[in-house]
Structures are given as structure tokens and as C-alpha cells.
């Protein structure tokens, strides 16, 4: 489906003739190229591995039933010899067979969340929230839960590579030094540092040192899902960049305008979830339940928990005038 094979003229003519709104996902779809038609109706792309062996259904069933019947016989083997490999010098807190828990933190979007990591003989296996950390309160989000898998990612490089060849660390240092030397005369005009949002004062100070050394260099912080709009909004409201922190335990009525504050919106969602939940208990604290109004353009966890949810186009959400103690339907101003 290369661009060369597309007849742009035919596409323009076709679109000019068509009346009313038209939707397509690619130019190939509009042009209705034979490649696109084939792609649309084939379950697997070409060159995907296929079982084109001429073994028929009968022989397949014969083979599989024999395999299943023989699978039971595999239990009749003597267990293979197992080794026990103790430490040479055992770490002090370690008890064989019991995990150790380490307190750590994970940054996401520049905000660190306190975690506890279960470790078996030095291998981390499970991530849980640190109950003493204000951003976690003992909970974790899916990113923290999934982070343990990145340690065992088979695609993760086991050593230093250059063009697929294993190299020593000294080779990297030498190459880095040569590149840095080359930038001295240009004042770092060819130097760009790309990072995620850096919240560490130490790392930020170190990068600032580099920038002072190479005045022409630039430091770019990038996030796939940044909170720039929330920051800009906070600046409009308060005159400076601030991070609003809500105390949902004190809120009797919560109005959320396209903000998925319980799950995905912002760094404190674990804390907000816990706070929100404490005001939803019927027994115990004697306080009235809170009430949640949500106006949003897509489905979200917060919308799912809402007492009143108003589906709205995202562009219409700013026009909602929240009026507490009124029904959601009356809030469509």
C-alpha cells in the first residue's frame, strides 16, 4: 500500500462527487485499491506464519489423541535431580524461603509514588503501594503493577550494545567523551538532551550544569500524555503554575468536568480514590455520603462511579455550569 500506487486524481474526483460526510481511515480506503481490499478481507497479513501442512483433519485428530493418551505416561518418570544452591555469605536480613520487602518509588509524569517491592533472593516479583506514602496510601495503579514485568522483558538489553555488538562500558565512555569534545567549539549547538519529566533536583541540577557548559544546547522534556493543559488551566486560575491537590474527604458534592480523577487523570488518583471511598461508606463514620456529578465525552472510571453522569461532547464540557444540589439534567445550561 505505497503512496506511489495511489491515483490521487481519481481520489479527488471521487471525493468531489460524493455528497454528505464521508469517513475513511486511509487514502487506500478511499481509492479502494486491490491491496487494501485484500488486506480488509484477509484475517492474517501475508507472510504471517500459516499452517499449510497437508495433514488432514483425521490424521490431526489421530496424532492429538495419541499425544493426550501418552501425556499421562509422562507422570511415570523419576523426578529430575534438583540442586540446592545456598549463599556463600548470606545477607543479614535474609531468611531462606521468605521474601524481603523494599521501599522504593516510581516516577510517572514527573511525580513519584511510594511503593513496596517483594523480592525473592534478589528477584523482584510483586509491586504494592507503600501505605505510608501520601500519594499511594497502600495502593498502586496499573503502571506500577506492570512495572515489574519490564525487569524480565526479554527485549531488554542484557549488556551494552553498539550496532548489535557487545561492547564494554569503557567504549561507551570513550565514544561519549569524543562526542562531547566535538561540541566544545560549537558551544553545544548540536547537543539536545531528551528526557521524561525530571522531578529529581539532583538530576535537574546536573543537566543544568551541562547546559551552563554548553550554552547552545537544549534540554527537552517530553511525555506521551503530558499535563500541560492542566498546568495552563491552573495558571489561568491562580496566576502561577500550581498543582491543585483536592481533599475529597471534605467534599459533599463533587463535580468533575471531563476529569478522570479516580483513575487516569493526574498523579494523585490513588489518593483520591481512597479519599472518595471513605466518604462512600454507609456504616461507621456517621458522615453523609458524597455525591458525584460527571460531565464527560468518553467513558471513564470516574464516570462509572458517578451518581449522575452527563454524556457531552468534550467541546461542550466547558459550557457546563455546575449547580450543586440540583439534578444532573438541570445542569445542562
Amino acid at each position: 500500500m505505497s503512496a506511489e500506487s495511489l491515483d490521487m486524481k481519481a481520489i479527488r474526483e471521487k471525493l468531489a462527487k460524493a455528497g454528505g460526510p464521508q469517513y475513511w481511515r486511509s487514502l487506500d480506503a478511499v481509492a479502494e485499491t486491490p491491496e487494501f481490499q485484500a488486506f480488509l478481507h484477509r484475517e492474517f497479513p501475508s507472510n504471517a506464519s500459516e499452517w499449510s501442512d497437508p495433514v488432514g483433519r483425521r490424521s490431526f485428530l489421530k496424532l492429538m489423541s495419541a499425544s493426550i493418551a501418552l501425556a499421562g505416561a509422562s507422570a511415570c518418570t523419576v523426578q529430575p535431580t534438583e540442586l540446592i544452591v545456598p549463599y556463600v555469605r548470606q545477607p543479614e536480613e535474609f531468611i531462606p524461603g521468605r521474601p524481603l520487602y523494599f521501599a522504593t518509588a516510581m516516577t510517572l509524569g514527573g511525580v513519584a509514588t511510594g511503593l513496596l517491592v517483594e523480592s525473592h533472593e534478589g528477584r523482584p516479583t510483586k509491586v504494592e503501594g507503600n501505605p505510608e506514602h501520601p500519594g499511594s496510601l497502600g495502593a498502586t495503579d496499573l503502571f506500577a503493577q506492570g512495572s515489574v514485568l519490564t525487569l524480565y522483558d526479554p527485549d531488554r538489553s542484557q549488556s551494552l550494545l553498539q550496532l548489535g555488538e557487545i561492547r564494554p562500558w569503557s567504549a561507551f565512555v570513550a565514544a561519549n567523551k569524543a562526542a562531547a569534545q566535538g561540541q566544545v567549539s560549537a558551544n553545544g549547538a548540536g547537543l539536545r538532551i531528551v528526557t521524561e519529566t525530571v522531578a529529581s533536583p539532583t538530576l535537574a541540577a546536573q543537566i543544568q550544569q551541562i547546559l551552563a557548559q554548553y550554552p547552545e544546547a537544549k534540554w527537552i522534556q517530553w511525555e506521551p500524555t503530558p499535563r500541560d493543559h492542566a498546568r495552563a488551566g491552573a495558571r489561568m486560575a491562580f496566576g502561577e503554575y500550581v498543582e491543585p491537590l483536592y481533599d475529597l474527604t471534605k467534599a459533599d458534592v463533587i463535580v468533575s468536568l471531563d476529569a478522570d480523577f479516580l483513575a487516569s487523570d493526574g498523579p494523585a488518583n490513588l489518593r483520591y480514590s481512597r479519599q472518595f471511598a471513605t466518604r462512600r461508606r454507609i456504616e461507621g463514620n456517621g458522615e453523609a455520603l458524597n455525591r458525584l456529578y460527571v460531565a464527560e465525552g468518553v467513558y471513564s472510571v470516574t464516570g462509572g462511579k458517578a451518581d449522575h453522569r452527563v454524556p457531552l461532547k468534550t467541546s461542550d464540557v466547558p459550557s457546563v455550569r455546575p449547580c450543586a444540589r440540583l439534578h444532573a439534567s438541570a445542569c445542562r445550561c
Binding site: 540442586l83 540446592i84 545456598p86 549463599y87 556463600v88 555469605r89 531468611i95 531462606p96 524461603g97 521468605r98
Partner: protein
Amino acid sequence: MQVFPKSANNWSRASIIAGLFLVAGLGWTVLTLQRSDFVTSANQFIEQPVQFSHQHHVGGIGIDCRYCHTAVEVSPSAGIPPTKTCINCHSQIWSTSPYLEPVRASFREDRPLQWIRVHDLPDFVYFNHSIHVKQGVGCETCHGRVDRMPLMLQKSPLQMEWCLDCHRDPSRYIRPRDQITTMGYQPAVAQSELGPRLMQEYNIAGVEHMTSCSVCHR
């Protein structure tokens, strides 16, 4: 014309009885074989990287089990001692013995010893040393007279039948907690009287819980 001679009647009767015996005999053979040391790998000496003698260290010197197997009271695994534990003493005594060269090499080169597992439970059962020790099951009850073993060997068959034998009525085996590591333990009073008393004292769960599948097959 008669095809079979008259004696065929007797032969057919005899073969029915012989067939029954054959089936029973085959069943007996299979069941006996299944419980044999050949299958359970009990009572078989296994050569280890270091010919460590429990007989000498436990029976001769009288070192408590927990000096080396430190985790037995707090962990599912009793723990195999690190090389450092051997070197504690053997840097002073028998420090030039050729038998201990693998131990010294391990300590020198920071390379762990690789012992061969003697008690190998299947991976689909969960076993926890600490709970057994806490509830009064002595080391000797499962591991036998370790103080008489020049080389470690598996004394019990470690089959489910064997586990259940105790789980159905532990009072026949349990002993006071201060006698856990004693080898050649003899109850001070009759076991039939001591067992039920300890069961009550240690608050040991009833037979319904102890024989529930998920106690071991988690």
C-alpha cells in the same frame, strides 16, 4: 463331532480362577512397586559435592539442627547453611583437610556449593517447615535418625499416603516444642495421653481442616 475333549471343562474353570489370581497378582505388584524405595527414592544414599556427615556433626559433636538450618522455625524452607557457616568452625579446625577443599574453594572464589536435594517434594504440593515445627512435629518424625546418617538420606516415602497418615491423627506423633530437635526422643508419659493433651494445648486444627485438599495443594 466334539471339538473339545472332556478335560476342557476343567481347564476353563481353572483358567477363570488363574485369571483372577493373575489380575490380583498384577495389582499387588503394581501397588508394591509404587511404594517401593525404587519409586519413592527413600533410603538411597546420594553422593554430595562435600561428604558432609550428619552423624559426626549431630550425633558426635551434638550441634543443634537450627545452628545450620536457621530458617526452620520461621520459613517454609528450613534453609541450607551458607558456606560461611561451615567456615565459622573450619577456618580453625580441619582447616587443611582435603575433604573440605570444595568448601574452602567456595568461600575463596565466592562460588556457592551445589548440594543435591535429598527430600524432593513434587512442585504441586506446598510444604511449610515452620508450621510443623511450631505444632510439635519433631525433625526426627519425618527425617529419621539424622544423628546416625553418615550421608544424608530420605527416610520417609514422602508420598501423599504418608502425609495423610499423620494429618488424619497427628496426636500419635507430636511432641513438646522443647523436644523438637531431639534425636531418639522418648515421650516422658505415654504418647496416647501426651498426644491429645498437646493437640489441645497447641490448638491444632481438626481432621476436616488438616485433610482438606487445599491445605497442601494450594
